[in-house]
Amino acid sequence: MAHNGHIGCLGIDTRKLGMWIFLASEIMFFTGLIGSYIVLRFANIHSWPVPSTVLNIPLTAVNTFILICSSATLVMGLASVQRGYREGLQVGLFLTVLLGSVFLSIQFHEYHELIHDGFTISSSIFGSCFFTLTGFHGAHVLAGVIWLTVVLIRSFLGYFSPEEYAGVEIVGLYWHFVDLVWIILFTILYLI
């Protein structure tokens, strides 16, 4: 990093340390939600529906692949700017924004179909859990897409270089965390 003022007493860039501490609070938030889901599911183990009878698993599997791809495009963008290849960063960020937007569109379509079929946040305890968990995750994806768009614009304005790419690395930490949470949600909500 070009600015030594960003290095804290722990020898870690303070912006990155701040993001990790924020992510720790996010871990508490999501593990709290997931823990509640597990407890509620076991409390209603005999009446809990088989997820595949309610949810569209193939569509969500596609969405999972999309989010995995978006993490790959972002990390490739980061690797590009580290090598001084700015166009690679711009392409990586653009594809990540695009894939994140597609993910949100598919989730919106999924919600529309489920609500049309009578599966709502108030229709059952499974509905409450499903919409709470995926809704909060979707809100995080939306925040990530907006943030990534800002970083993409900044990349076109020449803010990033092989010496200064913290802005990309920090949004990357957030985005990969959102991907990581989805990996867990896809398994526990849709597959199990």
């Binding site: 860039d13 720790a24 709290g32 997931i34 823990g35 076991f42 791809c69 993490s71 199990i192």
Partner: protein, 96 residues
């Protein structure tokens, strides 16, 4: 980036393909006629492997200092303890 331990770049493409293939395995296992307990354990194991790959290589946790592990893993540990303790209420149901 200063403040970050210099390290060899992970093979991002390999991580991507690993995540891709593990997701296919997950979907296949979810539709296998195995015992429910075996399916759940396998799926949870695969999800943990995938999440670990993302955290270690995409988020570069593997190359971070110990303090970052403490910041990240301690709340995770507490949340698991909380869930397991509350689940005690349901243990008799689960074991019968």
């Amino acid at each position: 980036m200063e403040g970050t331990v210099s390290h060899k770049k992970p093979n991002y493409a390999a991580i991507f393909w690993a995540l891709f293939i593990l997701t296919i395995f997950e979907i296949a296992i979810a539709n296998m006629p195995f015992a429910k307990v075996a399916v759940v354990l396998l799926l949870v194991f695969l999800a943990i492997v995938k999440a670990s790959l993302v955290a270690l290589f995409y988020m570069h946790l593997k190359f971070e200092k110990f303090i970052i592990y403490v910041i990240v893993l301690f709340p995770l540990f507490l949340a698991v303890v909380l869930t397991v303790m509350v689940l005690n209420d349901r243990m008799p149901t689960l074991l019968t």
